[in-house]
Symmetry: C2
Subunit: 417 residues, 2 copies
């Protein structure tokens, strides 16, 4: 079955690669319209998924991520219309010129071909990914979580109707609809058909993909993010940034998980932090030094367990570690970070420069919240994932990251000397 | 042992990342000088490798690739000096601006970190790769073929002397010196330390890396390249290009392996091809249609075996296949090509455009030899490999492909709304 899906996707990708931006936008508009027009079928499938999920005892948080409503579906359709408005990178000439040999050479941006995406229980991802792939002329093979497979099947059915109404093959957007987990392992070996694989999920899925996939994989989306409060920083603004980075949306990958505090700042800063975190409802996981300054205050403080330094809380919890200096802060981030987003809060120019140069993360910030690491915030218009590896794309992945380039050489019966 | 190599490389990479272009060029110059000054030690190690290789019955061609001489060593040192002259991409700002949120954001080009390279019996690759990695501030872990391990050890020893003379850690350039093959498998799992892996070798090595590596891999360097002779093409210039693409250096990956001839051109073109190929000493592997036009001529013609369509000859052999039209040619290339380099020879504008758009290869040519696919020819100054995959880098990989970028966000106590 997967072989057929792969062949259909590859065939469709050749057709998509030749489409103009206008033709691609036409499909996207049709897709948005049909998502609204077919809302009842999609919502019905979603209700069946929800009923099953309740029966399986999924948490309320999971049920909420899985649930669609007419309003949510409308918002999803509007996001597709938003993608229409983005600039299409395909066809752009990156660079080029006339070589001494007489060959006119240029690098031209082209679609990747077929993109594979493995994700969990969020039906909006199905539409997001499909629209970004279509906009860049890629075919896509989607593998959503088993909790949403009825919803995804209904959505993909609607997308395929839109494709066919525009004279394009249904193979351009396909879902692996069986909940059978063995199919994921099979998908990871489809290097003949899939050009890039994006797993969007937890550490286990990423490990599986890294170890088993024969397709180039982009991993990311796991953020053990740090904020380092330097000696020179003002307390008020520091607290303001920390509250934003921790509480604005605690379940996201760009939320801060560990605060590193300069030893010389600890006495002045930590009591104020305790006060503020008590107000913000954040539990502090403090190392023994930090506990000294925090234990008498109003904050909920627990003793730091080493393991929490290496995992995302995704909740209103924050590690607090006192470090001797900038070197210790950088060493800590190298050891425990996931190369996602890390920030320094400082008034010292040279400390800022050193931190930016030496912290090896996708995004490094000075006096700003880690919450900015996001395709929308970065002005990319949308994001297909957040990469924490270094090849191909790093950080929020916009439309450009769904393309590659080809070298086009035009000669006049030109040979190599 | 590999764990120690990995840790030393990672530590060195942090130091290299902060070097100025001038400091990096100073190491490269020192390296070039010492390669010449220490020639006798390197040549002695090379003689020991050669003696062992003769004893093991290696072919003359292999012995030649393995052998160093004072002149070859001088040329290798001069190549290092050439790398000094290239523009350092590290530190360049790719794009950036002031976001609505007040965050000043830029994408800054930075080294990858640690690059791993697995290659075969060519000691010049050791120096090439080390110099390109140092130029871009990367540490490198080299794993050469077992036939050259003494030579590589001597070369790496000299490079490490140069590093230390400039106050830099020897961990910046390391070789896995034991010929034990099990170490390759171990190297493929070092994702904690190695950021990018480049296998330079045959299809078997690439398959091993794709299947076993947990590190992002760049595969390439295998070229089943095609030339399609369109109906409208002039015979003389076509033969000229084909001779260049086949015979200029038959052992390279950008050499043409299969000629696709438009059916309507066969009668006029194939007899002339036979004549020319007889003169050039090329054996033709002809399909049954082509045989009709070739068998009465002077060329050495054998019946095409299907398997030869999917493999590199790397010799003076050429498949000849008659195709019904452009569609058949493109389908053939999609089925049998390795997405390396493919060319059309035509006088028809629209045929040229269609071929360029629809052939999904790293390099596509119109009226030019496939032999141009090369970092030097493309003006990149040097190449670390030729990628035939689509992620990160495609085609000849110059200095830029040894870098990634980081997002740098400078705020003024800026939070996400």
């Amino acid at each position: 079955m997967l072989e057929q899906i792969g062949m259909a996707a590859k065939a469709a990708s050749y057709q998509l690669a030749g489409l103009s931006s206008r033709a691609k936008n036409r499909v996207l508009e049709k897709m948005a319209d049909r998502l609204e027009a077919c809302a009842s079928a999609i919502l019905k499938a979603n209700e069946a998924d929800l009923a099953q999920a309740r029966q399986d005892g999924l948490s309320e948080a999971m049920l909420d991520r899985l649930a669609l409503s007419p309003a949510r579906l409308k918002a999803i359709a509007d996001d597709v219309r938003q993608v229409c408005r983005l600039t299409d990178p395909v066809g752009q000439v990156i660079d080029g010129g006339l070589l001494d040999s007489g060959l006119r050479l240029e690098r031209r941006r082209v679609p990747l071909g077929v993109v594979g995406v493995i994700y969990e229980a969020r039906p909006n991802v199905t539409v997001d990914v499909a629209s970004l792939c279509l906009k860049t002329g890629n075919a896509v093979i989607l593998r959503g979580g088993k909790e949403t497979y009825r919803t995804n099947a209904a959505i993909v059915n609607v997308i395929q109707q839109a494709l066919q109404a525009c004279g394009l093959p249904a193979g351009a957007v396909q879902a692996i609809e069986s909940p059978d987990r063995a199919l994921v392992n099979e998908m990871l070996k489809m290097d003949r058909f899939i050009d890039m694989l994006i797993p969007r999920g937890g550490a286990g899925l990423h490990k599986l993909c890294r170890e088993q996939s024969t397709i180039p994989v982009i991993t990311g989306g796991i953020g053990v993010c740090h904020i380092f409060v330097d000696e020179s920083m003002d307390i008020g603004p520091a607290l303001n940034i920390i509250v934003n980075a921790k509480t604005q949306r605690p379940g996201t990958c760009n939320t801060v998980e560990t605060l590193l505090v300069h030893e010389k700042k600890a006495a002045a800063f930590l009591p104020a932090l305790g006060q503020q975190m008590a107000e913000s409802g954040v539990t502090l996981h403090a190392d023994s030094t930090a506990q000294k300054w925090l234990s008498t205050g109003p904050a909920k403080v627990v003793a730091l367990q080493p393991q929490t330094l290496d995992d995302e809380f995704l909740s209103l919890d924050l590690n607090v570690v006192v470090v001797a200096d900038m070197d210790a802060a950088i060493t800590h981030i190298r050891e425990h970070g996931t190369r996602h987003s890390d920030a320094i809060l400082t008034r010292d120019m040279r400390s800022a420069q050193r931190f930016v140069n030496e912290v090896d993360s996708s995004a490094v910030y000075v006096n700003a919240s880690t919450r900015f690491t996001d395709g929308g915030q970065f002005g990319l218009g949308a994001e297909v994932a957040v990469s924490t590896q270094k090849l191909h794309a790093r950080g929020p992945m916009g439309l450009e990251s769904l393309t590659t380039y080809k070298w086009v050489g035009i000669g006049d019966d030109t040979i190599r000397a």
